[in-house]
Every structure is written in structure tokens, then in C-alpha cells.
Amino acid sequence: MDKLLEIFSDILEIDIHEDDLELTKEEIEEWDSLAQIQIIAEIEEQFGVSIPFEEIETINKLGDFLKYIGK
């Protein structure tokens, strides 16, 4: 979990805490399409997982990434 928050904070360049997971794309200005790609790439690399292409569109809040990191 800490690792995930670290990825968010690092890429979005703002502090992300556990209670920010409900925040959506619309609410985080820094979460643009480039950041989105970067988050996916980082999660896939660091957790050794694959986020299926078809599901990427449905990701709308930070917490949506949780299900891919095996928690």
C-alpha cells in the first residue's frame, strides 16, 4: 500500500495519503492522460502485474488501482 501511495505521490507530484484514495480524476488536476499512463507503467513494473487494456478506461479514482496490486 505504501508503495502504491509512493507511486501516486511521485508521479502526480503532490502528497497522496490513504484517505485520498476516493479522489477521482476530475478532482486531481495533475492526473492527466500522461500521468495515467505513467501510473499504469509504474504499477505494472513495480508490482509485476498486468492491468488489462480493456479495464483501463474504467479506472476513475485512485482506489481503483488497489485491485491490481493483490490486496
Binding site: S33, L34, E45, F53
Partner: protein, 550 residues
């Protein structure tokens, strides 16, 4: 250091990563790399970067389905654009990658892999540019790709998602390579590589196993160490000085250097050998002191984790890399060490002679101990100081001196080759470079003075530095005498000079006071400025050598 990125694909992610460490210009969009180079008013040309990295994707650049004749023509055209930019921007360092083309086409066994031919044609063209232009370099992306494989280096997902080719891992490798290249231009290389002996230069323990049983050979097990030594020798030839710190009986260890037929490194390759039973920290401190270099310019390699830990905690300035668990990795390990800490753009003549120059220094010091007085010793050295206005072929060394000299450096201004070039061609500046020779050998070009003409009456000493190899011999007094005399004859009346304190230049803190300059200002940071009226020159300066202007 201003950096620019050009590409024919989307490299926004890479640019984002680089912007955290550098000032980066990257044009919007990605089909514009040629325009950016050719158009005089483009963002690139207005930005005027120190370094441009042109990263081209082979699959996007080349249409593989065309006839090879057309492909070659197309490559020639693209190379022409690049050459044009290199020629018109000789102060900008230009990197272009070798081309990588994926092999994903369905084809039969008999069909030729045209990708291989295209890649090698492109590489030949880059090779020509590399030989022709001093400001061109090949960015070796192929080696990066080969290190982890294409599947890892590229990401199909990012490509379909956002037109991005490199994976996160790929980006990181490219970023690391860019860091190395930029670091090399900044002249941040370390100076001395300190090596342990047992289980480092050879396998086994000489004191226990003896000459016949240590592991070192041309083939099989012993080749791990022999290959390691071969790379070390190459590193030494790029101007890195090697030293030994080992807990051993001196004679046992030396026996290996003298008589083992598979030793690549011999005694002469090392500037110092501390083979004794003292603590390694003590030996390492002695090395820094005797060579007159900072502890932070040392890298220490030892297979023993306890020794590594002890150095890390006692002398945190020294770089202590982890030793590979698997000794089959030794060769790769030392190449990485070179790339991370010692990478140089181009080895200069001085670099190749470095070990010898440091050695001559010892002989000088030995002689000093044996002669009666210091004065007498200096007189007996037969020092010859040659000084001249820096020319085209001094630029590389002059820039290197500004970047590397820390102790005898009054203002510690770091300059790039392009800066030095600018000073030399400007009427406002005079750049003098000096070489020092004595009976023990030639030290090469070791001192640099940059004079800025303020007005008809006044000159400023922008830079005055001298390599630590020749410090403490009053050579600076003769050089400054020469400068003063020179400008007095030209009709100047006053010299203004400066001392800016750094962590390392304490030895010259009062140089100008000692030379009779009048302190006119000192700010709260300790920055001092001085002046000297040229009709009041103090001629009682020490003079042990012979100074010649060329």
C-alpha cells in the same frame, strides 16, 4: 547545463523524468525533429542547448517495405539534416542513437532480415559523423536494449495507450545513460580506484594458498579475475589512477605481481600499494593525503563486506560499491563502476600519463626528505615553466582543469569547452595556460589563468588555478609576476582579483594577501576582492624555476 530532447516518437514520459534533474527543452509534438534542427527560429535554436539528445525510433523512421536502395537514400537525407545541425552548432554536443528495428514481420526462412542491414548502414553513417565532428557522439541505445531485451525495453501497452514506445524500465535506462553523459561533461569523475587483492584481483588468499594455488588463468574459473584485470587496465588508461589497499605480507603479494604469468596488472600500473596490516581506513586516508586528492574522489573495491562497512562508516566520502555475490559478474561489475564513476568523454594525453605523473611526485617528495633545505631542493628541481596564450588544441585541457581543480583554485568557476572557446576568440579575455617540467618529468599543462579586461586601465583575474600536483613550489609567484609584468607593459594600471571560498580551496585563502594585493572587500560569505596597482609591484617574490613565454 541546458538539455534538449528531439525525437520522432512520443517521449513525454522520459522528458518528465529528466525535468526533475535538468533544464530541458522538448518541442511539442513529435514529428518535428527535422524542422526543429533546420529552422533558424525554432524553439530548439532559440533555446541554444549545451547538449541535444536525438532519440530516433527505427520503426517509425524507416519504411522497411521499400526497396533497400530507397531506404539508404532516405537515411542519407536524414543524416544530412543532422550533419547540417552539428556543423552549424559546434558549441552544442549532439548525441544520436544507433537505430533499433524490431523484427516482427512474418517471413519465411529464406527471406533476408533487412532490419540488420538498415541498422548497420545507419551505424556506419553515425561512425562517420563521430570521426568528423568533435561535438558529435553516438548514444548507444542498442546496448541498453540488449541488456534487458526488447520485450522489456518497449511496452506494447503504452504504445497502444498513448503512443509511447519505451517501457518504464526502458525510460529509466535511457535516463541513467543520459545522466552518465551529462555527468561526464560536467567533469564529475572520480580520480582514484582503490583495490583489494585477495578474492578481488585474484581468487583465493595468497598468504595461505600460495602462488601456485591462487585462482587466475586465461580460461575457466581463473578467467573471471583475469577479465576483471583487463578492464581495470583499460580504466587506468583512461586516466584513472589505481592503488592497492590489502591486508597481506608485502612480499607475498608482490611476488604475485612480479611472477604470476596471468597477472595483467603489474606494479607500475599502481600509483601506490598499501600492503600491510594496518586498518584499511588508515591506509585510505594516507592515499588521499599522499596523492593530495580529496577523499570524495576515491572509489574502494573490496570483496569483504566487513571491510566495506567499516570504510562506509568511517570515511563516508569514499564511494564503496557492493561487490557482486556471483563472481561471474565481475567483468560487468567493473564496467558499471567505470560508467558510473569514471566515464570520460575522451581521454586526453595528460590522462594517459597520469599514473606516471603521480609517481614522479613521490620521487620529488623522497628527494625533498633527503636534501638539506627546502630552498635547495626547489632550486635543484630545475623547474621549467612554459606559459602561452591558449590555442585551439588547449581548449579541452583548459576546460578540464576548471572542472577538476579544487584546492588551488581562487574562484572555482567551472567552464565548458564552449566557454573556453568563447574566451579565446573574444578580445575581452586573455586565456593563459602553463606547463611545468622538472628533472623528474613533465607534468603537462597544469595551470590556467583567465584575464578579463575591464577597461583600458584595469584587468580582472577571472580564474587562477593550478593542479595540486605542483602546489607548494612557489610556481604561482612566478606566474603572477609574469601576468603583472605583461599587463603593466601593455599600459594597464590595476589588477583586480578575487577569492571565493569553497569547501576545498582553503590552501589559497590568503594567496593574494601574501602576494601583496590590497583587500578591498569581504562579504559575509567570505568572498574577497583585491586590487594591486601595477606601479607598486613587489619584486621580492620567490623564484626557483625558469619561466618562458612561448
Amino acid at each position: 547545463m541546458k538539455i534538449s530532447l528531439l525525437s520522432n516518437i512520443n517521449i513525454d514520459l522520459l522528458a518528465k523524468k529528466l525535468r526533475r534533474d535538468y533544464e530541458v527543452y522538448k518541442p511539442e509534438g513529435y514529428g518535428v525533429w527535422v524542422q526543429e534542427m533546420l529552422n533558424k527560429n525554432s524553439g530548439l535554436n532559440n533555446y541554444n542547448p549545451d547538449i541535444v539528445f536525438i532519440l530516433l525510433d527505427g520503426d517509425e523512421l524507416i519504411n522497411k517495405d521499400l526497396d533497400i536502395v530507397y531506404i539508404r537514400k532516405e537515411i542519407d537525407t536524414n543524416i544530412g539534416y543532422i550533419e547540417n545541425y552539428i556543423k552549424n552548432n559546434i558549441k552544442t554536443h549532439v548525441f544520436v542513437n544507433n537505430l533499433d528495428l524490431s523484427i516482427n514481420k512474418v517471413q519465411s526462412i529464406k527471406d533476408i532480415r533487412v532490419e540488420r542491414i538498415i541498422q548497420s548502414y545507419w551505424y556506419e553513417k553515425l561512425w562517420d559523423l563521430n570521426n568528423k565532428y568533435g561535438n558529435f557522439y553516438i548514444f548507444d541505445i542498442k546496448t541498453l536494449i540488449e541488456s534487458i531485451g526488447r520485450n522489456e525495453f518497449y511496452s506494447k501497452k503504452l504504445w497502444y495507450l498513448g503512443g509511447i514506445k519505451f517501457s518504464s524500465k526502458g525510460d529509466k535506462l535511457i535516463k541513467k545513460e543520459i545522466d552518465r553523459c551529462v555527468g561526464a561533461f560536467k567533469g564529475q569523475r572520480k580520480k582514484c580506484l582503490i583495490l583489494d587483492l585477495d578474492n578481488t584481483l585474484w581468487g583465493g588468499i595468497i598468504g595461505e594458498d600460495g602462488m601456485d594455488r591462487i585462482i587466475l588463468s586465461e580460461h575457466k574459473e581463473g578467467a573471471r579475475y583475469k577479465d576483471f584485470q583487463k578492464r581495470l587496465k583499460e580504466i587506468k588508461n583512461t586516466g584513472v589512477i589505481l592503488a592497492v589497499v590489502s591486508k597481506n605480507n608485502y612480499d607475498d603479494a608482490l611476488e604475485v605481481f612480479k611472477n604470476h604469468k596471468h597477472m595483467i596488472l603489474n606494479e607500475e600500473d599502481f600509483v601506490l600499494m598499501k600492503i600491510n596490516w594496518k586498518s584499511k581506513a588508515e591506509n585510505i586516508r594516507e592515499i588521499a593525503e599522499e596523492l593530495n586528492i580529496g577523499l570524495d574522489s576515491l572509489v574502494f573495491i573490496d570483496d569483504n563486506p566487513v571491510e566495506r562497512e567499516s570504510i562506509k562508516s568511517q570515511i563516508p566520502e569514499v564511494v564503496v560499491p557492493e561487490f557482486p555475490d556471483d563472481t561471474a559478474e565481475l567483468e560487468k561489475f567493473i564496467i558499471d563502476i567505470y560508467n558510473d564513476y569514471f566515464l570520460s568523454i575522451k581521454a586526453t594525453e595528460e590522462d594517459k600519463k597520469k599514473t606516471n605523473m603521480y609517481k614522479q611526485n613521490f620521487n620529488r617528495e623522497k628527494e625533498m626528505k633527503s636534501t638539506a633545505s627546502f630552498e635547495e631542493f626547489l632550486k635543484n628541481l630545475n623547474t621549467k615553466i612554459k606559459i602561452w596564450k591558449a590555442k585551439e588544441d588547449d581548449i579541452e585541457r583548459a576546460a578540464q582543469l576548471t572542472q577538476k581543480t579544487n584546492q588551488f583554485n581562487l574562484t572555482t568557476k567551472r567552464y565548458l569547452e564552449s566557454d573556453i572557446d568563447r574566451f579565446i576568440s573574444s578580445d575581452k579575455y586573455d586565456v593563459y595556460i602553463a606547463s611545468i617540467e622538472d628533472k623528474f618529468g613533465d607534468n603537462g599543462k597544469v595551470s590556467l589563468i583567465i584575464i578579463e579586461k575591464n577597461d583600458d586601465k584595469t584587468v580582472k583575474i577571472d580564474t587562477f588555478l593550478m593542479s595540486c600536483r605542483v602546489m607548494g613550489r612557489f610556481i604561482e609567484e612566478q606566474i603572477i609576476d609574469f601576468i603583472e609584468d605583461k599587463y603593466k607593459r601593455k599600459g594597464y594600471e590595476k589588477i583586480i582579483s578575487y577569492y571565493y571560498p569553497t569547501r576545498k580551496n582553503k590552501p589559497v585563502e590568503t594567496l593574494f594577501e601574501d602576494l601583496g594585493y590590497i583587500l578591498v572587500d569581504k562579504d559575509k560569505y567570505g568572498n574577497k576582492s583585491y586590487e594591486l596597482l601595477l606601479d607598486k609591484i613587489n619584486n621580492e617574490r620567490k623564484k626557483y624555476g625558469e619561466l618562458m613565454e612561448l
